[in-house]
Symmetry: C2
Amino acid sequence: MGLRRLHVAGPLAEGEPVALAAGQAHYLRDVMRLGRGDEILVFDGCNGEWLARVEAIAKAGATVIPMRCTRAQRMGPDLWLCFAPVKRGRIDMIVEKATELGAARLLPVMTRYTDVSRVNLDRLAATAVEAAEQCERLDVPELAEPVTLSRLIADWPSGRPLIVCAERSTAATPQALAREVGAGPAGILVGPEGGFAAAELDALAELDFSHFLGLGPRILRAETAVAAALACWQCLAGDWSERPFSRAPHDER
Amino acid sequence: MGLRRLHVAGPLAEGEPVALAAGQAHYLRDVMRLGRGDEILVFDGCNGEWLARVEAIAKAGATVIPMRCTRAQRMGPDLWLCFAPVKRGRIDMIVEKATELGAARLLPVMTRYTDVSRVNLDRLAATAVEAAEQCERLDVPELAEPVTLSRLIADWPSGRPLIVCAERSTAATPQALAREVGAGPAGILVGPEGGFAAAELDALAELDFSHFLGLGPRILRAETAVAAALACWQCLAGDWSERPFSRAPHDER
């Protein structure tokens, strides 16, 4: 078991004390049994990852001191995931899987057949942080406020292809679409369990930046479609030629 | 909402009554409010999918009569998923995602760092059935009894490449591996959260049928690795050039 790895509010710099949140202090002290002088890894999303020493720890909070940068900052591909909220449990899976699979930004989108009316952004943000800590990312995906599909389309930035996971006669395989769209900024849109309404599909099809993606012959649940589309995209147009950071020269994990 | 779709014990044939399980009868009667004369879809894993009429329904059971074959039987790629059991919730996700992503056979494998000692095969089998019903598969993946990794290796059939999801200097990208291995029978092996032990990796590397697969720079949870590896494999070497069966001529789901 390696060192614990926590996301903290930066900016991280050598010798500059960092305050941990109460929940993190509780976790380190009461669950991991760490005390003053013990070491952890911290990252803030923009200044890399640092080895840090626990300087003070109590029930209400803790302070750690960054000692040495262990990994320089780097970001993954500029890939957004737009997803229709689904029920609790499955929406957490969407956020967790999207974080592990390297989405840079998560955008909840309310569609016609979305049957969830409220999104607990605080809980989803905590899920994203936890997943980022666990999967060794150096950043946490940004979680946007929910918007309607028409708002999403109206505000969509130019130069960013929108890849719509939906059956349509024009739906392409991941390979064909990766060849067509290439690497670079992109957004993937996954609808709710009930799919998109016909009018939504028509509106999406009319956009000059939309591309329809087929995910095979079986009907996938929303969180499966998210994981499948992101994995294929990272594999074909993203950063999957890279390997996990190795902490030891002979680490064959 | 389309017709309910249930997996039943076959063999299905026109006019031959089929008994439903008590749980299915309860679901149709008390949850879906179906009665005599209502229609459902049934499949048995080898005789395609049939439109069937409810002939009798009570608390303890139900009988349906297959009337018309709606889809001819077809099987997906001959792809096995070997997975180390993980804790409840996440192991159910593995079975659900693997079913949606078209694994033909699911093999629980006990490895050195597997920290789950008992596998509830009945619950996992029910999860696989439910996922197959939901994703429109025409078969249910076979669920094997748990075996040790050394047993799995010793009994591995010749002519079936074993794709090991693990970091190793020889780990290839999905594209490179798909080119090397090609379509045809294959097995994907995903380890537990703690990874494989060094001795296990060495033993796996020595096999002339093993191939190491890299899944990018982030450390994936077991169920994420399962979904990612299966999705990439189906996309690159499986059946993802196919599209979902369309029940209506203009179905643009």
